[in-house]
Amino acid sequence: MAANNYRHALFCAIVTLIISFPILGFNLEAKGVNIELTGAKTSTIVAVILAAVAVFVFQAYRDSFMGLLGKLPKLNPLAGREPMEQSKRVKLESWVLTGIVVLALFWPFVVSRGSVDLATLVLIYIMLALGLNVVVGLAGLLDLGYVAFYAVGAYTFALLSQYTGISFWMALPIGALLAGLTGMILGFPVLRLRGDYLAIVTLGFGEIIRILLNNWTTLTGGPNGIGGIPEPTLFGMEFGRRIKEEGNTSFHETFGIAYSGEHKVIFLYLIALVLAVITALIIRRFMRMPVGRAWEALREDEIAARSLGLSRTAVKLSAFTIGAFFAGFAGTVFASKQGFISPESFVFLESAIILAIVVLGGMGSQLGVILAAIAVTILPELAREFSEYRMLIFGAAMVLMMVWRPQGLLPMRRIHITLNKQG
């Protein structure tokens, strides 16, 4: 047993050396026209060796480390508490949520423009994650190409505005519906697939859509993207300094206030907030409806679900369609916020981040997903100095979470249903 442990630890340490030494231990240096291979500084080499030692120690005493990690939840102040009474908890939760939304309504007026901009991005990610939560968390369909529907929403608005001059408010439902339709169409071929196979095929679909956008230069402008996407208007009032569209008025002139670039940012933030709240409420409602229960039943046991009369086709397609619909929503807002989009914004990494948000938050749990969306978007911004290590920290956080709280930050709680005793 012990010998086995050490052998395994030694193996891991050697692998660490093999991987990190060539990458960190050598430098390419430009000397005139030639490039020369030089050894790295001693400190780097020492660091690599130390890392290998650390890996060895960790692997050799892995069980005791993991045991310690298992004790961590005891440090959690909430762990030992009595579960709150059902009715009280529900009331508290709805108060807290209303409070957060009210706060969120007012805070853009007191913070900087940059923060509001970031908050808008957070809200877009919340919408995306809530939508993907339907597909992955509730219906249990591992979708790695979710970003495709986000792209469909964004490109719908961009293209329609370019060719027909459509406004944000018109594009919003069209973008969402088209994304939903795409979700349904892409859902058909993968109906029979589950788990890994489904993940691979959806990953492929996501890439196909991105590559299509990249290469169909005549329509989408390819890698150059599409610019000049209009901002939302408020009852025909524009937020720019000068009016772009005939017949519109401008916000600052109508209200007789000085022009400020902040109005636009705040307005976009408020739109994103309202849409995110609507998304959350609608999906929350779905979860308590027959369709939501059918999603979960299919995730739990497909054979039993079918034996009770649920059609796999209808249930899976509805999950794909509704998830994609909200991604389209988010995409339209994103296009409007950026004013410019290109296939760069819809790479696989985006899908991975949204999926990470859902998993970190706790599959199926809305509050958890919202918190995780905030954390995953804001933390990298706060730790700008470490931005090179962003992915590393991200990966470490994921591994730690999987060990410590595999069910996510706030695992989904079942809805309590009170029954009336029947005669």
């Binding site: 779905f286 409806m289 027959p290 649920l310 009336n420």
Partner: protein, 251 residues
């Protein structure tokens, strides 16, 4: 109401079911018995639409149903339980029963989003039906537990309740007594008889517990290695030499 004629099912080179026939009348309990691997579950899988039989006919209420997809079969009023309990383990007990009533609910998404009167009414009657059956199988107090946390016997009863809320005409039970203690088996015995007497449901039962089978069956079909061996009343089966040799004697 149900007639199975000459059913056969082939898996590659293996003829798992070969020429099995079966008929079930209204308000009747018909058992299928046979040694392990005889093909009993495979017969159920064909009847419930999980497999498309290689040959033969299944006629339910005058309509040929062989090869119809599983979810449509259950909508016709033929539902089954599984040899290994299949619950939606992470959903609560009530939710399990609500999923089963999908067909009785208003599944229009807009109706649900806006909570139309029709939607609410149907949702309420589904809840009441769930409450009724939970009470009936003694699980009402556990209605908000996760189904996966129930004791084994409770899970078995929940699975039957989940079938009953769909208001079936024919219930197929695959070894419902497996893993139950004698007291639980006795309760199950009474429950199955009551399903027939009080709710007019026909039951097809696969079971290894001979005393249960002999006690409640109206008729029994014996199959051995996929082939029908005998059929008749419990009394006839008890004294059938072939059966004693092939099955009872070995036990």
């Amino acid at each position: 109401m149900l007639e199975v004629k000459n059913l056969s099912m082939r898996f590659g080179g293996l003829l798992a079911v070969d020429g099995v026939s079966l008929d079930v009348q209204e308000r009747e309990i018909v058992s299928i018995i046979g040694p392990n691997g005889a093909g009993k579950t495979t017969v159920f899988n064909c009847m419930s639409g999980f497999y498309k039989p290689s040959g033969g006919k299944i006629i339910f209420e005058g309509k040929e149903v062989q090869g119809i997809p599983d979810y449509k079969i259950s909508r016709l009023g033929m539902v089954r339980t599984f040899q290994h309990v299949r619950l939606f383990t992470q959903m609560t007990v009530v939710e399990n029963l609500l999923v089963a009533q999908h067909r009785h609910l208003n599944t229009n998404m807009l109706a649900g989003l806006f909570g139309t009167p029709n939607y609410k009414e149907r949702e309420q009657s589904a809840l009441d039906r769930a409450a009724y059956w939970l009470e009936r199988v003694g699980l009402l107090d556990l209605s908000n537990r996760d189904a996966g946390n129930l004791a084994y016997g409770q899970q078995r009863r929940l699975e039957i309740a989940r079938c009953m809320v769909t208001e079936p005409k024919l219930l197929m039970l695959d070894e419902p007594a497996a893993g139950l203690n004698p007291a639980e088996t006795k309760e199950l015995n009474q429950l199955i008889v009551s399903l027939k007497e009080d709710y007019n449901v026909s039951v097809v039962l696969i079971e290894h517990d001979m005393s249960l089978v002999m006690d409640i069956s109206d008729r029994i079909n014996v199959i051995n290695q996929g082939r029908p061996l005998a059929s008749g009343t419990p009394e006839e089966i008890r004294h059938n030499d072939d059966v004693i040799k092939a099955y009872l004697g070995e036990a």
